[in-house]
Chain length 348, copies 4
């Protein structure tokens, strides 16, 4: 049966995944206020289209930090793809990303090693998501692997000095990956390290990381405009407005509501990306009209993967691309550059 929207993939994923695994992907922190807010905030924003602008030829491509994406929708880093697709996992996601010509941000917590992800999808544009580890030598080793695998940027998660309080996982007793899976990017000789989240992480670590690699650094998890300003002073290449899909601090506002202030603070100095709650082409357009250079989707990719493996991810990306194109055309825009803030209205 054909699926016509991301929501149908969500339902399919709920059917197919182990309940505890579904909850791991679906859940958020605390009372899941932020989780719900991310989606609801998009619906409260109205789009006011333009007409009769003769936009027959459509251009949805975007170049970000030297990587080309055929549409302004990236694959956000999410952990443990082999829970959703036991054999192929992140390999399947990467192949679908390559086919869709978009950028996949490989998670540090991937269940397939970044080298294998890259090998499985030649030509895929990969970025690598990094939790800076207190052991900087180990961090450097991970960065070297990402560089060697051909990743085009480092996406450093800064909203996780400690893990969020995820009650679904506590109630389900979901603490660890099944024995046959592990975080392949955390291998250190014979052992696999756990991911260390560190409250001691500071701007100095960002400076050290910048010294460590020539890769452009994206800070993921910026929500306060003051931090956006600080980031510019530390030489980051891009900022990703993110509340970690509602999985870290609960009651952080929806990312789309935080975006305008960040865009103003950044003042065009670097691209601003966004994730959180993007489920429709119109969501993408709203973020772009308000100043984002692109958005990323996390859970929808997992839904596609759980529903139908690589084909499911491909279909999810195709649906999003078709929705973006249709919505752009309906907005009278020939390219995403034609979107502007005046096309977005806050309804009550």
């Amino acid at each position: 049966m054909e699926r016509w929207s991301l929501r149908e993939f969500e339902a399919a994923a709920r059917d197919r995944l182990e309940p505890a695994h579904y909850d791991y992907f679906a859940g958020g922190a605390g009372d899941e206020v932020t989780l719900r807010a991310n989606e609801k905030a998009f619906a409260r924003l109205g789009l006011v289209p333009r007409v009769l602008r003769g936009a027959a030829k459509l251009e949805t491509g975007v170049t970000l930090l030297g990587s080309r994406a055929a549409m302004p929708v990236l694959i956000a880093p999410t952990a443990f793809h082999r829970l959703a697709d036991p054999e192929e996992g992140e390999r399947a996601t990467a192949r679908a990303a390559a086919a869709a010509e978009t950028i996949m941000i490989v998670s540090m917590a991937a269940t397939v090693a970044v080298e294998d992800v890259a090998a499985a999808a030649p030509g895929a544009a990969l970025w690598f998501q990094l939790y800076v580890q207190p052991d900087l030598a180990f961090t450097e080793a991970v960065v070297r692997r990402a560089e060697a695998a051909g990743c085009g940027a480092l996406v450093v998660t800064v909203d996780s000095p400690v893990l969020g309080l995820r009650e679904r996982d506590l109630r389900n007793g979901f603490h660890d990956l099944p024995g046959h899976l592990c975080c392949e990017n955390l291998r250190d000789g014979d052992r696999v390290r756990p991911i260390a989240m560190s409250p001691g992480l500071s701007w100095e670590h960002i400076d050290r990381l910048r010294d460590m690699t020539a890769l452009p650094i994206v800070l993921k998890g910026i929500t306060h405009p003051e931090d956006a300003r600080l980031a510019l002073g530390h030489g980051v290449a891009a900022i990703m407005v993110s509340n970690h899909g509602g999985r870290q601090l609960d009651t952080v506002p929806a990312t789309i509501d935080l975006l305008p202030e960040i865009v103003t603070a950044v003042g065009g100095a670097v691209p601003v990306l966004l994730d959180g709650g993007v489920r429709r082409g119109t969501d993408v357009l709203k973020a772009l009209a308000l100043g984002a250079a692109a958005v990323a989707v996390g859970r929808p990719v997992i839904w596609g993967l759980a529903a139908d493996g690589e084909r499911g991810v491909a279909r999810v990306l195709a649906l999003l691309r078709a929705e973006v194109e249709r919505a752009l055309t309906l907005c009278g825009c020939a390219s995403i550059g034609d979107l502007e803030p005046g096309m977005v209205r806050r309804s009550c």
Copy 2:
């Protein structure tokens, strides 16, 4: 059993129509945010009546582009009336419109030819809704037919460079009319053309159309005030604020919320019409108080047609007229000209 409100006709239509056909008429684009918003926005506006104004004689008539309507409620263009009334279709609608002395905007996608609609309802005030076709010669042929049938205006839909994403139809597999029906206004010799929606449509096409015909041109689907201003420069005779009943771009704000800015932009230069979510006489009054010259109703006409054919449409129009008259009287107004913006309040 007597029906006392448009909502009862909606229920009757749901009972009588094929589910896929009901969905075709009822549904909207995407998550149907705009579909719901159109109706809800009216309920959020309050009416503050005036009293003791001795308004014993009531005048609800309005003259629009030379056509007289006995009430400020027109019949919006909707496709495929023979899905709701298999024998008579648009003929039945036109007869009811004529009896109610209001204007029917015949859809380009009518299942009865405009000539036959006109012949079935002598004296009916008809306007013709047009999707400008990329083949301008064919467009002109359609315009000539509308002129010859006595249509008094062309209502050019400008919000449809591409079809909206209507998931109900996708899920129902509703793609085409049943074999015995077709878009009679699209006949081109022996064949029937499909309606071409064109993202290339531009203001230049409006200019060409204006050169093509002496009929006044109404632009239907204007939502951005800047487009309203542009329209004035292209010689349009009226503007219809419309989001296509929520069937094209989802999350466009409710038309009644978009109206005030359009009215300001137009500055009285041409009449401003509105459709979307009008279900009550009080809805009509709110639109008029905020500056609309008249409103149009689409789905309610289909409900009447499906429930009881011509009689159903007549009853729907009679209910609306009675509601408009009663609400005007309760507002202390002797005519629609007595309505003014100060009688409308936004509640939270």
Copy 3:
């Protein structure tokens, strides 16, 4: 079983009344937006109490147009009390009002003649509600009866140039009183006149009425501040902000939301009363803090009457009085004069 709030009387009334009669009392016009708004608007207003003001002695009495009420809660005019209490009807209501020492506004549409209401409750403070009839001689006859019965004021309903659209009654086929009942105040020799609602009613009629009687005139149904200003120029003694309990024009804002502008427009020249949605002592305090001199309750009195006749009305009034007293004390007020606008906050 003891009842502890007006809501419990509402439930009892629903149980005991004929469904069509319950609907007649409970229903509103159109989609009943205003009906619901009246109640909901009170809940959206917050009360911010004062403390430690040594308010040991409590004074809740108020003098209005020369009539004394022991609490700032009057009995609003409602029709047909013998539908709720077949034997005693308005007599029972009046006795309860007298016992509670408050003012009863007898409806022109009472099912007991005003003379009999007065006779049944000696010492009751009665006002008389009037629909000005186009036949002014008959209007004068009715006024004379009210004067002779000892009514202390005329409450002229100005929001009813025509009857509101009450779909519950249409669906229930409730058009007339049962044969053994009639509007006793409409007797004209051998016959009983129907109440004529007239769209021709104007300020001139108010002037004529003022010439006709020395009784103070209260205009009931003012919602627009401009009409409040006009009323002052026509010598009215008080203004009652009312949307007729949501029974006339639907989507009029809640009266408590309309009150502040009316109070400002009146500028203290005459007392401003309010009805609509008052169900709690805190509702009364909010209206008074925002400038009302008193409020009136309609449906709660019917609930009491239907539930338990005179005793039921007495209990409803006693509950309201106890709630007013308790809320006043909790607000740190010794009298209603201590309430002020700064104690009311709008929450979202």
Copy 4:
């Protein structure tokens, strides 16, 4: 089964308590508008975290009026703990408070004498909640007992000139404690006095109380900024913004919405505390960011006590502390002093 949030303790308490006792603790005044508002208002406030601030060492302690608390969450005064824990009652609560190193405000309406509470939990930081009794000599006797028991402050409830209208209790017929329990702090020789609530209470009584004792005086139940200003003039040591958990005057706004104005009025002169609706660590942070020195929790302590006695209270306090610590870290704060108003946003 492990419980992971306060909500699970609420459910357990509902299961274990006598329904009438559960209702006594859970219920609020009137329509319970304020009861619900307290909790909902926190969810409408967003937290905007800071990142990369190297906050490895966490300090959550606070010193209030000379008492040390390991976290900015106190135990609000609540009556009748032996309804929740028949044997130990307030003794159990005090032991849990001592173990958690926080301050317990012992209720005047405790079912264990304050001396016994103190004896049961050596080292516990106790404050004593007081309803000033019109019989000042008896009030003084109670104060002396609190002093002798080692209480560090008097928390004077000022929002209760009369008891709130609690319909759950009226319907349940819950008027008195079971015969084997009483308000042990109200013993006066052989008898136990009822608690007298007095509308005559005034600022003069506060002055008299200040003369009576050297203990710092906290006024609990301030909601109006003008009263906060007055309190400063009467030498109070702290102010507790409280609407009595929604149990006194209904429709008072949520305390977290009242807090900013009170903080402004107080201008840092004395600490401002808050109770009402605190259920999450993020709620605590929002209150502190907006200027509160600490918060207090009432019902959650009862839930813990009913669910599992002292262990239940200990677990509730431990969950709250862990949530506060985690949320602080996720906000990039090393101590509660790092919180500031710019980290809180009002969403709609």
